[in-house]
């Protein structure tokens, strides 16, 4: 029942991103049939013999009292994994064939991830909005009010200019210094090779990188009534295309493009998640939680 609230068309009727995020995450979590309290408390891992130099605070004095042996009690390490979302705010993201366009869908997605990370995982979360430049940067943090800063940043992310991964990438590397999770939300209208080559350095720095590939249904299956003139939203170039082409050749090309991007991403050790804007957001959230579990 709660899944109904993950439908993008319904979320489009909610004006507040905060409420959207809460609706999505609560609905999603309830759908998992688990306690919403995830409780990352410390868990016992093993005992290790004391060696000089170890921190005495971790010596299990109860064992020493019984056996006069000094052992250290080790716990499964709990990590705070900062989450950084790289949001593509180029012109192509404002395309939409139904009530939710790609940039809106990306906002809902990012808001939900932030909400889940800050309220659920208590992770630091940050945002980088880019097109062919870095438009906005909010440093990952767990400070009070961070979620509101992030949501405000999302609200300000207006689609403009064109996508260029190469140019802002060097700034990404400077901005994403601490190892963590980097989620890139984009429609990735570039050659897969170029995308992977540009993004791969983030992975080399020890980040867990996931590409959320947001596409409109008409990006995959364009609907044309007769020969039409198509305009590129980013470059404003125009070409005339026939319905026959879109039904046959284009579909083959887009499927090849998606498969290539997915394969190259996975080959580079990064995650890939294709999201259609007419589908619910839970796939993305599940991907995040899976990734978060791996890092824990």
């Amino acid at each position: 029942m709660q899944q109904r609230f993950l439908n993008p068309a319904i979320l489009a009727g909610i004006s507040s991103l905060d409420l959207v995020a809460k609706t999505v995450v609560d609905g999603f979590v309830a759908g998992l049939h688990r306690s919403p309290d995830f409780g990352f408390s410390q868990e016992f891992a093993e005992y290790r013999a004391y060696t000089p130099g170890d921190d005495l605070r971790y010596v299990d004095w109860n064992v020493y009292a019984r056996s006069e042996r000094m052992v250290l009690k080790r716990y499964r390490g709990e990590t705070n994994s900062p989450l950084t979302v790289l949001l593509d705010a180029s012109n192509s993201m404002q395309f939409g064939s139904h009530s939710v366009n790609k940039i809106d869908y990306a906002r809902y997605l990012a808001a939900s991830l932030f909400y889940l990370a800050i309220h659920g995982q208590r992770d630091a979360a940050g945002l980088i909005t880019f097109d062919d430049e870095i438009r906005n940067y909010i440093r990952p943090s767990t400070r009070q009010g961070q979620l509101h800063r992030l949501l405000a940043g999302l609200e300000q992310a207006e689609a403009r200019a064109r996508t260029d991964f190469a140019k802002p990438m060097r700034y990404f590397q400077e901005l994403v210094r601490r190892r963590g999770m980097v989620l890139i939300v984009s429609d990735f209208w570039e050659s897969p090779e170029s995308v992977i080559r540009t993004i791969q350095p983030l992975r080399f720095r020890g980040n867990e990188v996931v590409l959320f590939h947001v596409l409109d249904p008409e990006d995959v299956r364009p609907k044309l009534h007769g020969p039409s003139i198509l305009v590129d939203l980013e470059t404003q170039n125009q070409i005339e295309v026939t319905p026959d082409y879109t039904r046959n050749e284009y579909r083959q090309k887009i499927e090849a493009h998606l498969a290539d991007l997915r394969d190259r991403t996975q080959a580079a050790g990064m995650g890939y998640c294709l999201l259609m804007t007419d589908r619910p957001l839970d796939d993305a959230l599940r991907e995040y939680l899976t990734l978060r579990g791996v890092r824990k």
């Binding site: 192509s92 993201m93 395309f95 790609k102 429609d187 209208w189 570039e190 596409l215 409109d216 008409e218 990006d219 364009p222 044309l224 009534h225 007769g226 020969p227 039409s228 003139i229 198509l230 305009v231 590129d232 939203l233 980013e234 470059t235 170039n237 125009q238 070409i239 005339e240 295309v241 026939t242 319905p243 026959d244 082409y245 879109t246 050749e249 284009y250 090309k253 887009i254 493009h257």
Partner: protein, 683 residues
């Protein structure tokens, strides 16, 4: 083959339009935005070629529709031999049964001629029609000889006035609906008076071939009662002597003495002998028409002793009834108004009203509804009770004449009429010392018969605000003088001067009598529609006033009884017919929608009594064959079987077929275009 209107071929230039639409015009589409053109490739050339090939059939159909439409306007025709058309021709037999065909054996001769033509028509379809004042089809186009013969035998003499212009109009209408050649055979006495006003009115279409069959060859002498002038209504027992004047006419006759009789209700009441000059007219005057109360059927007869006995009498109907009462309410001491109004009413030729004059003090106990109309003369004060009583009388349909006189100036408005008094106009103080009547509405009967009131001097009048009243006469300075207003179902006429000789000299002028007489008739209502009418005239069964204001009268039925005692109106017509055509000569009894009864005498058109025939050259011109046959000596062609005429080319128009093809092509184009649109939607 040719074109009747070749200049419409200029429309062929319009054929370029579909070409422009299909081949030259770029397909203008609203550009469709996409996220990226990265994976798209241009396919312009293939799409254009695809479109051209695909819509070729649609283009062809559109071109065909335009081409056929232009052809239809250009009106193409083919010349076809008349002989080749004989198998599809229509033989139309028209037998004249107008009033003049009652003379001698004209109608039976015409029927015999029609029978002969019918027997020689072969296998062609034929149709029989009678023609009096209008064409009456007796059969459908059929080949059955017995049915056609029975239809010819069934044609009875009528009382209408034949007009060949009307015949030609009816045949033109037939020719538009029947696209086969029509062979028109006209059996008639070819009366000269049946010719249309202009020859072009008698023109026949190209596919109609006229054959005339004249049953008489030359003019015949005839005596007739041309007209009768008699009143339709006489009033009371002591009515003045009623004169009946009749005009006796002779056509082609020599000087002779004729005996003329006046017949009332079947009894000859007077006989006179009159000398009629050669081929001329003479008037006869019967000075004393004595008729009893009620409706009386009267005739004027002559001893004509000619072959056309049906026109030797002329009917008229006279009704005798009691005159109705009118009431004049005047000021105490005013003796002039009753004197002048009463004298004018009694001086009228047919006084239908008796005037009762009372002063305003006596008016309270009178019942207004007992009077045909009421006159208020020069009232300075009007008791409220009387004013209310008169207002109710007017609202329920009564009529009132208000003469303002000299005293009303003290009031702010005219009672009952309701017009505000702006000021009083005393012309005795202006340099001319009087004012004459200025503009007047000559369509108003009280003014038309009074000669526009020329020479009447007005010394005093009230200037009133007419409001929604109709101003009939204005003085020279535009002061309203005579106004009329409808209040409820009644009407009020306001005369802003007086009916005495103090405020004007109108009562001393000759125009005063017709003014009072016509105003009385108008206000009294019940103008008789009866009297004498001509055959084919229309009689109003419901007047417009009944329809608009008196729904009760509208709902009531009318009743008409024709000279044979039959009731020609159907049940639905009894409740709704606005008028009725008098198709037979004789006396009609009528009960109108408002309950009045009347009797109408109907006479044939006097033009039917002139038995002069159309000259042969005029007939030949009408037939359009340059005088190859004459009515006096019908040629072998006329006598021969129809359809056996010498073959000649007749242009036959094809526009009808063009329009049919246009329709078919348009339907095909619509179906095809809608299929293409459907395909596009699926894409």
């Amino acid at each position: 083959m040719g074109l009747f209107a070749p200049w419409f071929l200029a429309g062929l230039a319009g054929l370029a339009f579909p070409f422009y639409l299909h081949l030259l015009k770029r397909q203008t589409r609203t550009p469709k935005p996409v996220s990226s053109l990265m994976l798209f490739e241009s396919r312009t050339q293939s799409s254009t070629r695809h479109r051209r090939l695909r819509y070729f059939l649609l283009l062809s159909l559109r071109l065909l529709v335009l081409l056929l439409l232009i052809l239809a306007f250009a009106d193409p025709f083919v010349n076809r031999d008349t002989a080749t058309l004989s198998s599809v021709r229509l033989v139309l037999l028209v037998v004249d049964n107008s009033f003049s065909m009652r003379a001698g054996t004209r109608l039976s001769d015409a029927r015999d001629r029609a029978m002969r033509v019918l027997s020689g028509k072969g296998a062609a379809r034929a149709q029989v029609a009678a023609f009096g004042s209008q064409l009456r089809l007796m059969t459908q186009p059929i080949e059955d000889q017995s049915a056609l013969r029975a239809a010819v035998e069934a044609i009875q003499p009528g009382d209408g006035h034949g007009n060949f212009g009307e015949l030609a109009r009816a045949v033109r209408a037939m020719a538009e609906s029947i696209h086969t050649p029509i062979e028109l055979h006209l059996f008639s006495d070819m009366q000269r008076s049946a010719l249309a006003a202009t020859f072009s009115d008698m023109a026949l279409p190209a596919n109609v071939k006229l054959e005339t069959h004249a049953v008489v060859s030359e003019a015949q002498t005839n005596w007739t009662v041309e007209s009768v002038d008699a009143p339709g209504q006489v009033w009371g027992k002591a009515a003045k002597p009623v004169h009946v004047q009749a005009v006796i006419a002779g056509y082609g006759t020599g000087a002779a003495r004729r005996t003329v009789s006046l017949v009332v209700n079947g009894r000859t009441t007077a006989t006179k002998t009159v000398a009629v000059p050669a081929n001329g007219r003479a008037a006869v005057d019967f000075p004393g028409l004595e008729v009893p109360y009620g409706f009386n059927r009267c005739e004027v007869r002559i001893d004509a002793a000619d072959a056309f006995g049906a026109d030797d009498l002329r009917r008229f109907a006279v009704q005798r009834s009691d005159p109705r009462k009118a009431l004049l309410i005047h000021n105490y001491g005013d003796n002039r108004s009753p004197l002048y109004v009463g004298a004018a009413l009694s001086a009228a030729a047919q006084s239908a009203f008796t005037l009762e004059s009372i002063d305003v003090r006596e008016a309270a106990d009178r019942q207004p509804s007992n009077y045909a109309f009421i006159v208020l003369s020069d009232l300075n004060t009007l008791p409220a009770l009387l004013e209310n009583s008169l207002t109710g009388y007017v609202r329920s349909g009564g009529s009132l004449l208000i003469a303002a006189g000299a005293s009303a100036g003290a009031r702010s408005q005219i009672p009952i009429f309701g017009a505000r008094i702006v000021e009083t106009r005393d012309y005795s103080r202006v340099p001319g010392r009087y004012m004459a009547a200025g503009s007047s509405d000559s369509s108003y009967p009280a003014v038309a018969k009074a000669g526009g009131w020329a020479g009447v001097k007005f010394f005093y009048a009230l200037d009133v605000d007419p409001g929604d009243a109709r101003v009939i006469v204005r003085l020279g300075d535009q002061t309203p003088l005579l106004l009329e207003k409808r209040i409820g179902e009644g009407r009020v006429v306001l005369f802003t001067s007086g009916l005495d000789n103090l405020t004007n000299d109108f009562p001393l002028q000759p125009a005063f009598v017709p003014f009072i007489e016509q105003t009385a008739r108008y206000l009294g209502g019940g103008e008789r529609q009866g009297g004498a009418r001509l055959v084919d005239a229309y009689l109003d069964l419901r007047n417009a006033r009944d329809g608009t204001s008196n729904g009760k009268a509208q709902a009531q039925g009318v009743e008409v009884t024709d000279p044979q005692g039959q009731r020609p109106l159907t049940l639905s017509e009894v409740g709704s017919a606005q008028s009725f055509q008098l198709t037979e000569a004789g006396f009609y009894q009528i009960r109108f929608a408002d309950g009045r009864q009347d009797e109408v005498a109907v006479n044939p058109d006097p033009k039917e009594s002139n038995l002069d025939v159309i000259p042969g050259d005029v007939l030949a011109l009408w037939r359009g064959n340059g005088g190859q046959s004459s009515p006096s000596a019908p040629s072998a062609q006329n006598q021969s079987a129809p359809g056996a005429a010498a073959p000649h080319k007749t242009p036959q128009t094809l526009w009808w077929y063009c329009m049919l093809l246009v329709f078919a092509s348009t339907v095909a184009e619509s179906v095809l275009a809608s299929r293409y649109l459907g395909t596009q939607r699926e894409e």
